[in-house]
Assembly symmetry: C2
Homo-oligomer: 122 residues x 2
């Protein structure tokens, strides 16, 4: 799987609240399928499907403990997703830069400028 396909799978896996909650749970430590499904008003096969999506995305791995299949979070794909987002960080930090500059201006002028950052639907 190339980098683009991995990002596809990772972001798609994260685009579901149940799966994000499962990852949040697994961040606290390994858990079985039953434990992972318990918080959700959802059938067991539905949970298994979510786990398969997470596994195919490389976000979890599964061990074996008798009948149980403990799940373990694998953070590497999250690191890749983070690296992708990283390239856009300046775009959202610029917002705060603007805010800082605006605050400076307000402090200097002692009169709230009310300049709403331009843009936004013309």
């Amino acid at each position: 799987m190339n980098a683009a396909a991995r990002l596809d799978a990772t972001f798609a896996a994260l685009a579901d609240p149940t799966r994000r909650a499962i990852l949040a749970r697994l961040a606290l430590g390994d858990a079985t399928v039953g434990e992972l499904g318990e918080p959700f008003a959802m059938s067991q096969p539905a949970i298994s499907k979510h786990l398969r999506v997470l596994e195919l995305a490389g976000l979890i791995s599964r061990g074996r403990d008798a009948q149980r299949r403990p799940c373990h979070i694998e953070a590497a794909p999250l690191a890749e997703a983070n690296a992708w987002l990283e390239r856009y960080r300046r775009l959202w930090e610029a917002r705060f830069d603007d805010l800082d500059r605006l605050l400076e201006e307000m402090k200097a002028a002692e009169k709230p400028a009310r300049k709403p950052r331009a843009r936004r639907k013309s």
Copy 2:
């Protein structure tokens, strides 16, 4: 739209290589629909659909310049996605911590330990 639904929309929007490429282009500056579609072997309506997905996710906004509809990247949802990922940063950084520790051990023992970090399909 609540935080979870926004994350759903954001991650889903990012789970497509065409849309990520469009965002990459827009990070360099605003562009029209035609300009955005030019690199892709895809019909114009397909591009419009991708742009609508990005717009619904709040990742772009659109202005107007005569017949043209210039698109502008909006990074705020990316910041939210980043904030979500941030909570898992220690999980993938731990990997490097382990590697560092392993390297320390190797250096101390002068004999490559070959301990493959345990876990992984039992």
